[in-house]
């Protein structure tokens, strides 16, 4: 037996496939196709959780994702997941779930004491207390509050890595959201007219409201079959459209079944980004609650949910139900339960008379017209309801559940996000949306068109209109004959009813424990705008987004303010319509794949040489050719360069090829120094400024022909520099004929540096006379390098005699090996980024630490490079007075007086005795390569005037303070004899 309350076969459940599961440690049996909620209800379990603030007992209220109360923790292989609505949780074999937010047990929850004191804990009580003593908030009150709040526990298994996730990019002519009568009819029409349609349905089956009525089973089945035949309609079930974005982009969450999850390696959901020309919102309507005393007692449910449990799962939610309604639609549940053999059934209808009441009475139901429910009674579950009859008499009726319907509100959240305007429709006592025709339309119950046949017809009409707007008309295409629609019953209009005042808390938000008194308190204190009320009371801010009680809260506020609900309005809905797991939104670009990895052309050669790699932006670069930490291996590499020769990979530098008759003029514009005077076969150090006069990037410019230049940029700015050039070429110099080509990935480049570099390079570049006079410092030429067509530059970043060899990236390994081979007599070895840094710091070359976006050319000592004639980017604004201020931070060198002390990058420079005022800071530092002690570069206020001064370098985070002497930044070979040698 799969539960005593299972009285029939459900549409979705299979009585021949029992499923075992555990809830709060007890074992139960359900049926394949159940949700946890239906299985618990089938087993007579009413109490499933405790409420957020007052820890009141709570049961299942709805049968779908709008569930506010029946939230459970699910324990799975990945750990414990909180707050899963039992109403949408598929019952897989072996499911383990537990109630949450209670201690020690669900039935005996000590924090239910909060409920006793609830009169002292109204909305926003925390704003008015816990203020003294000052220390107590963080140390006492707040920890208590945090522990008491928070619903379920998220306990991922330790060391768990991100689960697999998929992002799917989808396209459609029309996205139809919701596959009820309107959505099915519309999708069918659109598909028949040849439009590409995605029909997204959050439920596991198509049908929506049509699932609730047996008379529609045939129509549903036929429609299902027809849609399957149409190649142009894709039906996505378990797919909730969670957000609407501009330009016809929608985000949808597709939840996989447990079987699919098992088949797809643990994949739990797909995140779909759908681009559609039009959207058709057939999202249906949501039944709303009525506020009355203890309307949160387990056993108080939505009337439509009772019908769902009966139809879908064959479960009767009670043996002796009472209904509390104000509309005809809700009678369907009462009549269906009655037909299934549940009796006696009593209906309390706020309206005196109605067509539905007549029909119900004819079938033998007991209907109290003109009556209201004042209170649900019982301890821990409904035992009775107190009603007030039409003549004002109050009495109690026995009942084991109370099924409520306060009317149906079109689900407008997605429409609002799509830019719809909302209008109050008195005939249904709810807001209805209207979309701008250019984006799509709303049809069926989603715009207040209730009744399945009416909705289907409305969906069909909307589809025709959309299709016509997209250039498809029914005339041109043979269309399937329409299916016969069962007739809608005649209905008596709803009588709006939001609250029945009585004794005891009446909830408008069951998940956040917001009562009608809280709403009135908000009004009393001036939080009377609906957004203020929401924020003050937290109404509608829980995971269910207040779907069943949101409008009720607005209505209670409206009554307090003496305004129509239409004027008070509802808070603005925001994405996501259904809570969205981080994993789904994140997709697969996580963990090791968070960003792409760029490997150098010579990556494998470096790895084979024992390199430790370091992430520099997207690049992986060799840091040092050793697994040892510390300065030892670095200094060994650097000393080899200073004494003999080393080779380092600089392929990650950006390389831009610039050609055309306007190339020289363009480069004069983008570089602050003059480029056009550069002779063919020569290279020059170049600096680029931003328009505000700050240094943007630096590198070398080599002229390979009259109209042909090759630039290098820093590794960090490779992409940005190219965009900078492209932007300025197209926006500011359209008259120049210049072609920019990113050749960064085409060329591998490495520097051979050291006093013996010439001999080594000569061995691999046989065709070029490398004598100083023939190929001087800053020479550049096309060259055959180890048999490859390459380029040779005599440039240096290390302060040594050096050459950079550029070869086609795909063949770089051969050239690299040839250099190592040729250098063997000189004990050449590769050097990594750390050694490269050490060498450049001693020489006073700047990198990103100094080119920090706040330094001008003059700050770094490049003032004399700025050309005197002609416009260039940054020229005018670099002449602002602030950039000539005497206290600008300028580049200097620093050296500890005590040679045994080390410098720290980020140490602040302070005048002795002037603690509190920093004058600047150390940007880069290194142990000296060939002598004792440390040397660093620093940015120092009025630094050039302070050369020779003694300051303190304060590294508070290291607990250090040392005395340093300010020096020239160019410690090594200030006369440049080595690079010219």
């Amino acid at each position: 037996m799969t539960g005593p309350a299972r009285i029939a076969n459900g549409l979705l459940t299979d009585p021949d496939r029992p499923v075992g599961f555990r809830f709060d440690g007890r074992s139960f049996l359900g049926q394949h196709g159940d949700t946890l909620a239906s299985a618990l209800l089938a087993n007579g379990v009413r109490l499933v959780g405790r409420s957020f603030k007052y820890h009141r007992p709570r049961g299942v209220v709805t049968a779908g994702p709008e569930e506010p109360a029946a939230l459970v923790e699910v324990v799975g292989p990945g750990g414990r997941e909180p707050n899963r609505p039992a109403t949408t949780l598929p019952l897989g074999e072996g499911l383990v779930a537990a109630s949450q937010h209670r201690w020690p047990t669900l039935t005996f929850d000590l924090l239910s004491i909060n409920g006793v004191f609830s009169r002292f804990l109204p909305a926003g009580f925390y704003y008015k207390t816990f203020m003294a003593p000052g220390w107590a908030w963080e140390r006492l009150y707040e920890p208590l509050i945090r522990r008491a709040a928070g619903l379920g526990r998220l306990q991922p298994v330790a060391g768990a890595q991100a689960a697999p996730a998929e992002t799917i990019h989808d396209h459609a002519d029309v996205l139809v959201v919701g596959a009820g009568a309107a959505g099915l009819a519309a999708a069918h029409r659109l598909g028949t007219l040849g439009l590409r349609v995605i029909l997204a349905e959050q439920d596991e089956v198509l049908g929506g409201g049509a699932l609730q009525d047996a008379r529609w089973d045939t129509w549903r089945a036929q429609m299902d079959a027809r849609l399957r035949r149409l190649g142009s309609v894709r039906c996505l079930t378990r797919t909730c459209v969670v957000g609407a974005y501009e330009h016809g982009v929608f985000a949808a969450l597709e939840t996989l079944t447990p079987a699919e999850t098992a088949a797809f390696g643990g994949l739990r959901e797909r995140f779909r980004i759908i681009r559609a020309q039009r959207v058709l919102l057939t999202t249906g309507a949501i039944e709303r609650l009525i506020a009355f005393a203890h309307n949160d007692l387990p056993g108080v449910m939505q009337a439509g949910a009772a019908l769902s449990y009966l139809r879908r799962y064959g479960v009767a939610v009670g043996r002796r139900p009472a209904f509390f309604v104000n509309n005809d639609e809700a009678y369907e549940a009462a009549i269906a339960l009655h037909a299934a053999g549940v009796e006696p059934i009593v209906v309390i209808d706020a309206r005196a008379e109605s067509r539905a009441a007549e029909r119900a009475r004819a079938q033998g139901l007991d209907v109290h017209g003109g009556a209201v429910v004042q209170e649900a009674r019982g301890r821990g579950r409904v035992r009775a309801v107190r009603i007030v009859d039409r003549d004002g008499r109050s009495r109690e009726l026995e009942a084991d559940c109370l099924l409520v319907s306060g009317g149906h509100s079109p689900w407008t959240a997605l429409a609002s996000q799509s830019g719809a305007s909302l209008r109050w429709d008195e005939s249904i006592a709810a807001f209805t949306p209207a979309l701008d025709a250019a984006s799509g339309c709303v049809a069926g119950a989603a715009r207040g068109c209730f009744g399945l046949a009416r909705a289907a017809a409305d969906g069909d009409a909307a589809a025709r209109a959309l299709a016509a707007g997209l250039g498809r008309s029914a005339v041109a295409v043979a269309v399937d004959p329409a299916l016969a629609l069962p007739e809608d019953a005649e209905v008596t209009p709803i009588a709006p009813l939001w609250e029945v005042r009585g004794r005891g808390p009446a909830f408008v938000d069951l998940q956040n424990d917001v009562t009608t008194d809280d709403v009135r308190l908000a009004h009393r204190e001036g939080y009377e705008h609906v957004e203020h009320m929401k924020r003050f009371t937290t109404h509608g801010m829980a995971t269910d987004q207040g779907r069943i009680g949101g409008l009720v809260g607005s209505a209670v506020l409206a009554l307090a303010r003496g305004l129509p609900v239409a004027q008070v309005g509802q808070p603005r809905p925001r994405p996501y319509l259904q809570p969205l797991p981080f994993a789904a939104l994140a997709g697969s670009d996580v963990g090791a794949h968070f960003k792409p990895k760029r490997r150098l052309p010579l990556h494998d050669a470096h790895a084979a040489a024992g390199a430790t790699f370091v992430a520099v932006g997207l690049w992986l670069r060799p840091l040092v050719y050793s697994t040892e930490t510390g300065w030892g291996p670095v200094l060994k590499e650097a000393r080899r360069v200073r004494r003999s020769a080393g080779v380092t990979d600089v392929s990650s530098l950006g390389k831009i090829d610039v050609q055309g008759p306007g190339a020289a003029r363009f480069l004069d514009f983008v570089y602050a120094n003059t480029i056009s005077t550069l002779a063919v076969g020569r290279a020059r150090y170049g600096i680029m400024l931003r328009e505000d006069g700050m240094l943007f990037d630096d590198g070398t410019v080599a002229r390979l022909g009259a109209e042909h230049f090759i630039l290098t940029t820093t590794t960090a700015n490779g992409a940005a520099a190219l965009e900078h050039l492209e932007f300025h070429l197209q926006a500011c110099c359209p008259e120049l004929d210049v072609v920019l080509t990113d050749v960064g990935d085409q060329w591998a480049q490495f520097a051979v540096a050291g006093p013996r570099a010439r001999e080594i390079v000569a061995a691999v570049v046989p065709g070029i006379d490398l004598a100083n006079e023939a190929f001087p410092f800053m020479a550049a030429a096309a060259a055959t390098i180890a048999g490859l067509a390459g380029r040779l530059f005599r440039i240096s970043f290390s302060g040594e005699l050096a050459y950079e060899l550029a070869v086609p990236a795909g063949e770089a390994t051969g050239a690299w090996r040839a250099v190592l081979e040729a250098g063997r007599p000189f004990e050449i070895a590769p050097y990594g980024l750390d050694a490269l840094n050490t060498l450049r710091i001693e020489k006073g070359h700047v990198t990103g630490a100094e080119l920090n976006g706040n330094t001008s050319a003059d700050d770094l000592g490049f003032g004399r490079l700025l050309k005197k004639q002609g416009d260039f980017i940054g020229r005018t604004l670099s002449r602002r007075p602030g950039l000539a201020a005497p206290d600008r931070l300028q580049l200097v060198g620093v050296r500890p007086l005590d040679r045994t002390k080390r410098l720290r990058n980020g140490a602040q420079l302070v005048a002795p005795g002037a603690a509190g005022t920093g004058l600047g800071y150390v940007t880069s530092s290194t142990p000296c390569v060939l002598e004792d002690g440390w040397f660093g570069l620093a940015l120092l206020a009025g630094g050039r005037q302070r050369i020779g001064q003694r300051l303190h370098a304060v590294a508070a985070t290291h607990g250090e303070q040392i005395e340093v002497e300010i020096a020239s930044p160019h410690r090594l070979d200030p006369k440049n004899t080595r690079v010219h040698s």
């Binding site: 500011c732 005018t876 604004l877």
Partner: protein
Amino acid sequence: MLRIRCPWCGVRDEAEFRYRGDASVRRPRGDAGLAAFTDYAYVRDNPRGWHLEWWLHVGGCRRLLKVSRHTVSHAIHAVGAPDDHLPPPPDGARE
């Protein structure tokens, strides 16, 4: 997510483009002086409404596009080359 109709590549996702700011400010002549350059580099109309702006199609043709986009609705009504004169934006655009 914006979808921009590149005149050379068709409708493409926002991710292919790099935003380059206000296209209604044009760089002054080199000798225009400090005030003109301060305006150019720093001062913006910053409209709440139709905005002329640069997008560089880095993931496509690498052309610089001039785009007229509404800064509330994000509607795009025209895209062109840097020197194109885009048609004037519609009145009463939805917000």
